[in-house]
Every structure is written in structure tokens, then in C-alpha cells.
């Protein structure tokens, strides 16, 4: 079957795109509805912005801001220490105990890396992991997204013999996570015990690693 040759002249790509995009339009009734919604919200927002109320509101906001600045300064100047590690440990133990369904089932770190595209770091195979576990051949089961102190992290789950262990990875920042031993410094990971579980914390390849396993 022959195709009829088009006689339409060519146009610059940008112009053709503008025409293609511009030929689709939202119906006017829908546009009017959205504009009405906007007007209602603007009117309501303006009504609450009375002068005396605004002045009182500004004073209250200023006072709250001063208090928050003071608290923030105290918090920033206070050196992160063991209590930060305990906060991290409490958070990961909660995740470990809940063991929510995996986002991805894979037994390779490549599978983990290709799935976790919304992290600002790349998960790695930890060279220190075998040393931290009871003797056995840990088998990677998969991973899921989680967070540590507000930063998006990856939870990797392993089967090591009869127990399931979880390894958390997140980009390391000393300001958030405190001083943590770094792999390669001939120092052992920081170890804490939370709710009967052993939590090991270390830094490896610029990532904070947190391992949770039975004691």
C-alpha cells in the first residue's frame, strides 16, 4: 500500500511544537471553575488580613521566630554525641521490628542500585557487613525506601541463617549523624543495644551504615 506524499511545507521545529501544543485547550467552563476557586481563596485570605489582627499576628510570629532561633542555636551548638546515635538506633530498630514489605526483591546489589533511583546516593555492597554478622552466608533479599533523621535512606534486608538482618544506608553528614567511626580507620563500629537488638553504626564509602540484628 503506497502512502500519499504530504505536500505540507516544513516549519521550524519550535514553531511546529508551539502549534502542536497550542491546539489542545481546556474547556472554558473548567477554566472558569478554577478561576472562581482562586478568587474564593484570595478573598478569604484577604479577609483574614485585617490591620490590627495583622499587627498582633506579626508580634506573635516575631516572638515565635525568636524562640525558634534560640532553640535552633542551642541545638546547633550542642555537639552531636551518643544521644544522636541512640536516636538513629531507635529509628532503625522501629523499622526492623515492623519489617514492612520490600519495595524490590533482588539478590544483587546491581538490582538494588537500579531500583533505588530516588536517593541522592548510590547504595553499595558493604565490605564490612560479613565481619559484623554471625558466621554464615548472608543472602540479600531486597530493599525498601525509608528515612533516617529525615534523610531518605535505603533499607537492605538479608537472610543470615535463621535470622533476618537489616542494613540501612544513607549519605553521611556529621552535622546530622554525629561523629561515627569510619571503615578503614582500624576502628570498630559503634555498637548500641536497643529493645534487645544489636545496632552497629559505621561510615563506609561516605555512607552511614546501620546494621540491626539479634543480639
Amino acid at each position: 500500500m503506497s502512502r500519499e506524499r504530504s505536500t505540507e511545507p516544513q516549519a521550524p521545529l519550535a514553531e511546529a511544537i508551539r502549534r502542536e501544543v497550542g491546539r489542545h485547550r481546556l474547556d472554558d467552563a473548567r477554566v472558569e471553575q478554577l478561576l472562581r476557586q482562586q478568587q474564593q481563596v484570595l478573598a478569604a485570605a484577604a479577609a483574614t488580613r485585617t490591620p490590627t489582627r495583622a499587627l498582633g499576628l506579626r508580634c506573635a510570629v516575631s516572638l515565635v521566630a525568636l524562640i525558634l532561633i534560640g532553640l535552633l542555636g542551642w541545638w546547633l551548638l550542642r555537639p552531636p554525641g551518643v544521644d544522636v546515635s541512640r536516636q538513629i538506633a531507635l529509628e532503625v530498630v522501629e523499622n526492623h521490628l515492623k519489617l514492612k514489605p520490600l519495595d524490590v526483591h533482588t539478590d544483587t546489589i546491581a538490582g538494588i542500585q537500579s531500583y533505588f533511583t530516588q536517593l541522592d546516593f548510590s547504595p553499595v555492597a558493604s565490605a564490612a557487613l560479613p565481619d559484623q554478622l554471625a558466621p554464615g552466608a548472608p543472602r540479600l533479599l531486597g530493599g525498601r525506601y525509608c528515612s533516617i533523621k529525615g534523610d531518605t535512606a535505603a533499607q537492605l534486608r538479608f537472610q543470615n541463617g535463621a535470622q533476618t538482618v537489616t542494613l540501612y544506608q544513607v549519605g553521611y553528614r556529621a552535622s546530622s549523624f554525629g561523629a561515627v567511626p569510619e571503615l578503614g580507620d582500624a576502628t570498630a563500629p559503634k555498637v548500641l543495644f536497643v529493645k534487645g537488638l544489636q545496632v552497629s553504626i559505621w561510615v563506609e564509602k561516605d555512607l552511614l551504615m546501620v546494621l540491626v540484628q539479634k543480639n
Partner: protein, 166 residues
Amino acid sequence: MSQPELTAAQLQSLYQYALVLCQQPADASDLLQHGVETYLLKISRQQVIHNPEAYVRTVVRNRFYDQYRRDRRQAHIAYEEQAAYDISPVNLEQLCIQQDELQRIWSQLAVEDRDILYHWAILGLSTDEACAELGIPRGTFLSRMHRLKKHCQARRASDDQRGGGV
């Protein structure tokens, strides 16, 4: 400072952008609704959005890509070829195309390519600026645009052959 308002023209433009991304009118309408509601929620809390159109466009884009990654929808790229990677540069400003041909292939482009082309053709950014704005590697985009150009040239050559002698 008073809150700038979205105009009817801007709402149309935002709908068209949503449609560039999702290629489905109903989905585009939902994306726009979500973007506008997010913007209205901000201003109802006495926050001032200095550029509502840009703000809503960002909300629409983020919402779309969140859903797109979650659903793992992949746009069908009909013109992908198995040829080796070609690093020849392509100047988009010099590319010409027939309107009906663009209409045919527009929905087949990768959504990221449509997004960049939108920012280039409609918003007036350079391709480098668009790639940087959207976090898409420039080399990836340029190689795909080069294949698009070759595809269009091949189709035109094929049309010329079929038309010859009639």
C-alpha cells in the same frame, strides 16, 4: 505585597504543559487540578507565591514524574534504532518538520524529550538550560534528538521514493 493571580491564559498554558507530559486529557486535567489546589493551599495559609504559573508548573511536573516512576509507564519510542551511538551535534534551531509528521511522532517521544522540547520551544530556554532545569543529561537528550532528525530525514526520503514516477 499582594498575591499575583493565575490568569485564564496561564491556566490554559499549564493544562497544555500537563498534556505534554501525560498525553491524556483527563490525566492532564487531574494534574492541573492538583497543581492549582496545592498553590491555593499555600496562599490560603498567607504564603505569597511570586510566580504562580512557574510554581504550579513545578508541582505538575513533580506530581507527574512521581506517578510516572511509580507506574513505570514507558512512552513508546518508535524511531529508536539499533545503530551505534552517534555523537554528531544537532542544532534544534535548524530542524524543520511537517506539522502532521510532528503530530504523528509527538506522542511517541520519551516524556523527558517532550518536556525539554516544551521548555525550549514554549518557554524559550536553551536546550542546555532546559536539560539543567529538568536534570536530564544533555548527551542523552542530544543523541535522541539526533536520531529523531535522522528518522525524519529517512521518512522524507522514503516518501520521495514512493512519490517518484507517479
